[in-house]
Amino acid sequence: MQRRRGTPGLAWRAGPLALLLVLAGCGQAGPSASVPAETGPAESAVPSTTPEAAVESLRAGMVGDESTLNPYTYVTGFPGWNLLMLQYDSLLQFDVNGEPQPWLASGYEVSADGLTYTVTLVDGVTWNDGTPFTADDVKFTVDYFQANTQSRFTRDLSGVASVTVDAPNKVTITLTSPNPSFPIRALADVPIIPKHIWESVTTPAEATFDSPTNVGTGPYKLVEYVADQSYRFVANETYFRGAPAVKELVLVQYADEAGIVAALRTGDVQAGFRSISPEQVEALAAAPGIDVAQGPEFTTQMLYFDVTKAPFDQLAVRQAISLAIDRQDMVNTVYLGKGTVGNSGWTHPSSPFFNAAVATTTDVARANALLDEAGLTDSNGDGIREFDGNPMSFELLAPSDNPLRLRLAELSREMLAQIGIDAVVTSIERDTLVNRVWPDFDVSKGRDYEMSIFGWSAPVQVDPAQITALVASDPAVGSINIAGFKNAEADRLSGEILVEGDPTRRKDLLGQLQALVADQVPFVMLLYPDGNYAYNADAYDGWAFIAGQGVVNKLSFLQPDSRP
């Protein structure tokens, strides 16, 4: 993590940011949670500057409208979920290392069989309308999200069999099967909602800002929402962890990144709640009063192919493609060095679950040899190999609204040309691309593409078990296996990873699965882009960088001693 302008303070850790480029980089989906990352070597996790007196007001720029920001109306995983969680709390809260820590829950115990979580709640917490918070609210939250589908939270809680209230400050949550990811995926992700408000809400998806549904226990209260324009939050001065460090938070909506950059330059806003593109970083860092914080993110840029289709069903072809791709060149050329080279085992090197034994190599000669051995030769001398008598020429999709992905596609084309594979780059509208690669968001419906640049948002790496979703052949487990990959060993490992409660054994299984991915190449992991966050340090410098979630989180606005 580097800082582009040296103001003292604020050492950012090498934490991944959970951000934008979500599913297919389409700005949806979002950080479900953060990874328990021990990553960044000598970097301090806690900002060294202490915001002493509270800052009166801070204005930040964001992209897009997030509607009325209650658990059923917020729109995107980033920044929608992050802004939602300024108003609400979950039972656990990620610290800057991305480890879940006690929050509304003062602690929890897991039974030996991994099925029962006994959660003790903090005493004396009140909803921001003054009503006391109790165990009834926790039970109600689980029941309500299970009864009223909200894709993220309903999915988080889908493995819960029952919740019982043992005491006003104690609940027992029973799962249908052991799930070691439960604390990360559910306890630290689901906002607890007040029973006394929501029990009378029958159509949650239509709850508007006028109705009192935005009552939470969180550090901020949303007091004004102007569609397509702004949000105004005021601090909850009686927040149970202590009064926030910024009294008023105004979020100004811009149509795109360029809007935020211009507003930072004019001083209309003092922070950008969105990562800026690599080519903007130097220019912005040079602007007076503006700092740019850079850090690695868990978002991914990948090269996908339909492995159910010939010739991608041939291992030699997939391995040759992986060997032909020079990932470092991509990081340098497209991201101007602001990114991490992709590991062929998919997992980010700064993840605590990274298998360091998995190497990533570029070797064009070996790639060519592999294809020759497989009998895929260029018999007519046009520079393109043939397969079954047809030239190995394939359509490579890239989203038209994403210049970085387009550039990655162009570079891939050049690199694949060196091994006699002709990739024809086709730029198509984003939603159209998603629908071809991932029809109806349902992998069991097949796919309609040959090759595509694609990628996933940070949360997919944040919960280490999510790698199973990319490679398992059962759609219920491999829900984002858009390559159509099917491998008995991968399925076996996935099954074990999902229920293994022993951390050491689990890490070992995850490492094995990464090695398998590197060898079998269900997709080519290209790179992990850095997050680049611009802000005016004179206006506010108390940012907390949560591994996997970046700076847009409630910790950024709490006094240091209020943070976990």
């Binding site: 979500v22 599913l23 389409c26 949806q28 989906a29 979002g30 479900s32 204005r59 897009g64 409208d65 509607s67 009325t68 109306t73 729109v75 995107t76 995983g77 929608g80 589908t149 909200q150 894709s151 993220r152 309903t154 999915r155 998806a205 239509e206 102007v226 569609a227 397509d228 324009q229 702004s230 105004r232 105004v250 100004v252 909506q253 811009y254 149509a255 795109d256 360029a258 809007g259 211009a262 507003a263 330059r265 004019t266 209309d268 609204d401 509208e429 939603d431 159209t432 998603v434 629908n435 991932w438 029809p439 109806d440 968001f441 349902d442 992998v443 069991s444 948002s457 219920a476 984002i480």
Partner: protein, 324 residues
């Protein structure tokens, strides 16, 4: 005779409106892409097939296209535009919030471009063939070929970022609690750059129409007659030429009134202006079917109304159109 013509004209409009409503309904559904991600939220891919089906059913997407269409027509007849998939809010509210801003931009720009375009067009025609006319003509043609996003971005970086004269985006300073004159000034300062961008891009159209109309009138016999009668050059220009040339210009302006709403999409995005244009842009990305239908409908109605306006205005300006 006349009432018959009028009623057939009304019938025509109703027919066009019905066809447009049908197209507005079909177009979003014919586009590849799926609104499920908006309906279910970002993590739609991680839902079970049953949960996905339930979400789709709640929005009525499991029903046959004919059912959906008749339901849409029924809602429309009762003035219900539906709920946004993305924002989960009534679309009527969303449109009403944004309409005034688009009115402000499109209206000011139309007014500005009408005045400037007509004046310059008349001047150019009067000076036809001379250096002033040729220079103006060249500038206008060049202006006409500029892409709006480019001009807008240029204005932002120069007038807002470099000089700091105007805000870089938005319609009003967020959470500012301004009142009275301050509020008006604040809104005005936000509107200057987008209005200027829109205006500069629509002046050439008006200018070219006016200039051409003037030139064709100048060649008419009655102008020669007027001159022969000894009417002053100024009198010829204003009383005879300009008056007659205004008819086609008025038609063009009336039609532009309808199109002005569509023309704001790009400019509203460049200036992060909270109008209808941005709403339509957001609706298309993500496939928010109900919002797409509703915004398309607003544009359709605007274009139809401006056509109607032109139909009504033309005979008033040009008596010859009344004869038949």
């Amino acid at each position: 005779m006349r009432t018959e013509r009028r009623s057939s004209r009304v019938l025509q409009y109703v027919l066009v409106l019905l066809i447009a409503i049908t197209l507005n309904f079909m177009l979003p559904r014919m586009m590849p892409g799926n609104p499920l991600a908006l309906l279910a939220g970002a993590d739609v891919g991680l839902l079970s097939p049953e949960q996905r089906a339930e979400v789709a059913a709640r929005a009525g997407l499991d029903r046959s296209i004919v059912d959906q269409y008749t339901a849409y027509l029924g809602d429309l007849a009762s003035g219900d535009l539906g709920f946004s998939y993305r924002q989960k809010r009534p679309i009527v509210d969303m449109i009403l919030e944004r309409l005034p801003w688009t009115f402000l931009l499109a209206g000011s720009a139309l007014l500005f471009s009408a005045v400037v375009g007509v004046a310059l067009g008349a001047f150019s025609a009067w000076r036809r063939g001379r250096p002033a006319d040729l220079t103006l003509l060249g500038v206008m043609i060049a202006l006409d070929s500029l892409p709006s996003f480019w001009l807008g971005m240029l204005f932002v970086s120069f007038f807002a970022v470099q000089l700091g004269f105007f805000p870089s985006g938005g319609a009003i300073t967020a959470a500012s609690s301004l009142e009275g004159v301050d509020l008006v000034l604040n809104i005005a300062s936000h509107a200057v750059l987008p209005v200027l961008t829109l205006s500069l891009l629509s002046v050439p159209g008006v200018y070219l129409t006016m200039r051409y109309a003037m030139l064709s009138v100048l060649g008419e016999d009655f102008i020669r007659t007027a001159r022969a009668k000894g009417v002053s050059e100024r009198g010829v220009l204003f009383r005879h030429v300009a008056r007659n040339a205004l008819a086609p210009v008025a038609t063009v302006l009336a039609l532009r009134l309808g199109l002005a709403f569509g023309g704001t999409v790009v400019v509203e995005t460049v200036f992060s202006y909270p109008g209808l244009g941005r709403l339509i842009f957001e609706a298309v990305s993500g496939r928010d079917y109900p919002v797409m239908q509703a915004t398309f409908l607003v544009f359709t109605v605007a274009v139809l109304l401006s056509n109607l306006l032109a139909d009504v205005l033309y005979p008033l300006i040009d008596p010859r159109a009344r004869a038949t």
